[in-house]
């Protein structure tokens, strides 16, 4: 069985994101970029399935500028067999990503696609679902447990409000990973060296025939409003007075 994993190059989770002075976007100049943490979990899960002898080949795909090759190399250093970059310097929004992934899936013919449930930069949480719909495949989103039952079906446990839901999915399927699925491994130095020699193909987004024109327009990026400090009230009467006249809620 072949597994395809999608990895996004996103702002590092330790970095404090900051809007550009003109409010057009988040300022990413010389800011540390890393693999989206949910995608790291996806990579780890694919490698574990391969180590368990369930998967025969693992492929990582990333969409974006040429620096995404570093993200693919990280995936390969963790243990993914090879990488594909769908190269595009233009903005790619979730629908375009799902369509580009679909074109990669059609070429690569994997039985399972694992993606992070969302990226920590735009928090869209759309690609996995849209990809499953475009492919007409089963989907197990927010997975916290994945078990393959032979080659026909798999069991996915998913985190929902108030508990864990267990799904029986028919293959082929798309899985999106939640935080508790696994803890990604450390990358070992010799594996980074080996990853440099693993195959990495580059496809131009323009040559896939997919329309990647943005559908959404960003109006403005701003800091969240500063929360004002609270005040202490002397007694209940003052509280009621403030609720009535200042907050106007009673």
């Amino acid at each position: 069985m072949k597994i395809l994993v999608a990895v996004k190059r996103a702002i590092d989770y330790n970095v404090k994101a900051r809007p550009k002075a003109d409010g057009s976007d988040v300022d990413l100049a010389n800011v540390k970029m890393s693999m989206n943490p949910f995608d790291e979990i996806a990579v780890e899960e694919a490698i574990r399935l391969q180590e368990a002898g369930v998967a025969s080949e693992t492929v990582a795909v990333s969409i974006g500028p040429k620096q995404c090759q570093e993200t693919l190399r990280t995936a390969m250093a963790m243990g993914i067999d090879r990488g594909i970059l769908v190269s595009s310097d233009d903005e790619v929004q979730p629908l375009a990503v799902a369509k580009l992934l679909k074109s990669v899936v059609e070429k690569e013919q994997p039985e399972l696609v694992i993606v992070g449930k969302q990226a920590i930069d735009d928090d869209s949480n759309q690609v996995g679902q849209m990809l499953a719909a475009l492919l007409g495949w089963s989907q197990g989103t927010f997975a916290c447990g994945v078990e393959l039952d032979g080659s026909e079906s798999l069991t996915v446990r998913r985190e929902i409000d108030g508990g864990i839901q267990t799904l029986d999915l028919k293959m082929p399927a798309v899985i999106t990973t939640d935080l508790r699925l696994n803890e990604p491994r450390y990358v070992k130095l010799p594996n980074i060296m080996k990853a440099k020699k693993k195959p990495l193909d580059v496809i131009e987004a323009g040559e896939t025939g997919v329309d990647i024109k943005p559908r959404l327009v960003t109006l403005k990026v701003t800091e969240p409003p500063v929360r004002e400090g609270g005040v202490k009230v002397e007694d209940v009467n003052e509280l009621i007075e403030k609720l009535r006249n200042e907050a106007k809620v009673i």
Partner: protein, 543 residues
């Protein structure tokens, strides 16, 4: 558990300006001689440049020697140095002093050294240097004859008690014919080498300053691109060495920083609070009206200069850059000298690799070559200026003027340095300093500052700030010096917490910005800074 190992010709510990310059020069020399040299650079930061902090006004002399066409290649030096101002501050006033000749900056550039390192790393990788950020060299390796044979990276995934966690990965051994230590000021491995090879027997101790920096985005109307301001005087008293910088560069960016000599006497002094207070000076504060602080960080620098240069080579390895200490203090620049030392080390190693006759594993040619470069003359000339500040600010300024203008660095004497940690006076002999509360607009507290350094350490790992003797924290540091680490640490790592049984030292190691001040200033040298898990520490952008 056995470690895996790999063999290189040269392993370089540290991906700063000196380490990367050494790597690049080695590859360039190999390329022109048609010889394959394998070079590996280890960097403890999560990416190259993430632990680099500097003013910075950069003198491009070494860069031009390394890459004559650096502008064409896109080196990130975009703002030529403009007008220089040197101010003496009193509490309310600013007196313009003549700019000392060493501080003239014509031909230099205001830039982010972190970004320059990011660029240098790209050039190094183009030349097939293996650059590995995220891996800390944690241990020096020796062969049976006591020759340095390389370094080992730290284990990953250890639990707080030092046992192996579920994701444990053993570190790796990197073996090399020569190991270059380019760790920056007060390198943790260099420190062990000083002891093992007695590298300080013929030099003065190293002395340090702590530099604290903030990066601001200011209102366009307050931005004077290229302007360079340095100050001395207030808020420090005349017995404490230090001063500030303020550089306007790029698009509405202002780099502002404050350096305090770590030989200060009063244990109540807080370099962080001095920096905050400094910004409130009327000659300074208006620049930041309506501006926004976007980054914060701190780093110790080596300030000893010529007489503190240690023995630079030992069997199997050598020291380059600020871990050896090539900063030119009166010029307040060290990037060009750090790079030059790295390049010179590379040339000496290349020569020794060519020389198959010799069996010596100590490349003494490095020091000989260095003595023949402009770096040596430059540092020798200014050697008496920093030590003269022992006499206080005004006598030192008078001496510096005589030394610079009349003696021109050719004085027949050389003043000596004393180690910084010996300088602290007992608390009972000093007055507590009263620092104003932060306003959250121009001045800030430590925690909101550390927040802007993007510092992170993987949770649950062993504390990397080790105490040789735990009881010394209370018996000496607290009882005699009133807990100075709580004030000199610019990241709020050290806290004395009052408990029922008395005070207890709490070490918030996850806040550590790797400035090394505790390792330097701790009065009994009880604090030993060791490398945390690779990838930990600050993530400085544009610093």
């Amino acid at each position: 558990m056995e470690r895996e190992s790999m063999q290189f010709d040269v392993v370089i510990v540290g991906g700063g300006p000196s380490g990367l310059s050494a790597a690049i020069r080695l590859k360039q020399l190999g390329l022109s001689a048609g010889k394959e040299i394998s070079v590996c650079v280890l960097e403890k930061a999560s990416e190259i440049g993430a632990h680099i902090l500097s003013g910075a006004v950069i003198e491009p002399r070494s860069l031009s020697e390394l890459f004559p066409n650096w502008a064409e290649l896109g080196a990130p030096l975009h703002t030529p140095a403009g007008k220089d101002r040197f101010l003496y501050l009193t509490k309310k006033r600013a007196l313009r002093l003549p700019t000392p000749p060493q501080m003239h900056n014509k031909g230099n550039f205001i830039a982010s050294l972190g970004n320059l390192c990011r660029w240098l790393a790209e050039q190094a990788e183009e030349l097939e240097v293996e650059v590995y950020p995220g891996f800390a060299a944690a241990e020096v390796l020796y062969d049976a004859q006591g020759v340095v044979k390389g370094v080992a990276t730290g284990d990953m995934g250890l639990l707080e008690d030092g046992t192996e966690g579920p994701n444990f990965e053993r570190g790796m051994e990197l073996h090399a014919k020569q190991t270059i230590f380019a760790e920056g000021a007060r390198g943790s491995l260099t420190k062990t080498l000083f002891e093992r090879f007695d590298l300080r027997s013929e030099s003065d101790p190293q002395v340090f300053g702590l530099g604290i920096k903030e990066l601001w985005e200011v209102e366009p109307s307050n931005h004077k691109k290229g302007q360079i301001t340095h100050t001395t005087g207030w808020p420090l008293d005349t017995k404490t060495y230090g001063g500030s910088w303020m550089y306007h560069f790029d698009d509405n960016l202002v780099s502002i920083g404050f350096v305090v000599g770590l030989n200060y006497r009063n244990p109540y002094l807080s370099p962080f609070e001095e920096m905050q207070r400094f910004k409130t000076h009327p000659a300074i504060s208006s620049v930041f009206d309506g501006g926004k602080r976007i980054a914060y960080g701190a780093r110790a620098i080596s300030a000893g200069g010529f007489q503190s240069i240690p023995k630079l080579t030992f069997p199997g390895g050598m020291l380059v850059g600020d871990t050896a200490g090539f900063l030119n203090l009166p010029k307040i620049k060290g990037t060009h000298t750090a790079m030059k030392s790295g390049m010179t080390a590379a040339e000496a190693i290349f020569e020794s690799l060519e020389d198959t006759q010799s069996i010596s594993n100590e490349v003494t040619g490095y020091r000989q070559r260095l003595e023949g470069t402009w770096l040596w003359d430059e540092l020798k000339k200014v050697r008496n200026i920093k030590p003269s500040f022992h006499w206080g600010l005004f006598p030192a300024m008078a001496y510096s003027a005589i030394d610079t203008y009349i003696l021109r660095g050719r004085a027949p004497w050389t003043f000596a340095h004393k180690a910084d940690h010996e300088g602290l006076l007992p608390a009972e002999r000093c007055k507590p300093l009263d620092y104003p509360k932060p306003d959250g607009k121009l001045t800030f507290d430590k925690l909101s500052s550390v927040f802007l350094s993007n510092t992170n350490h993987e949770e649950g790992q062993p504390c990397h700030l080790t105490l040789k003797e735990a009881s010394v924290a209370i018996d000496t540091n607290y009882k005699i010096f009133d807990g100075p680490e709580a004030r000199y640490c610019p990241a709020g790592v050290y806290e004395y917490v009052e408990e029922g049984s008395g005070p207890r030292l709490q070490i918030n190691s996850q806040n550590c910005v790797h400035c090394k001040t505790c390792d330097i200033k701790d009065p009994t040298q009880n604090i030993n800074w060791v490398t945390p898990e690779g990838g930990g520490g600050p993530n400085y952008p544009n610093m």
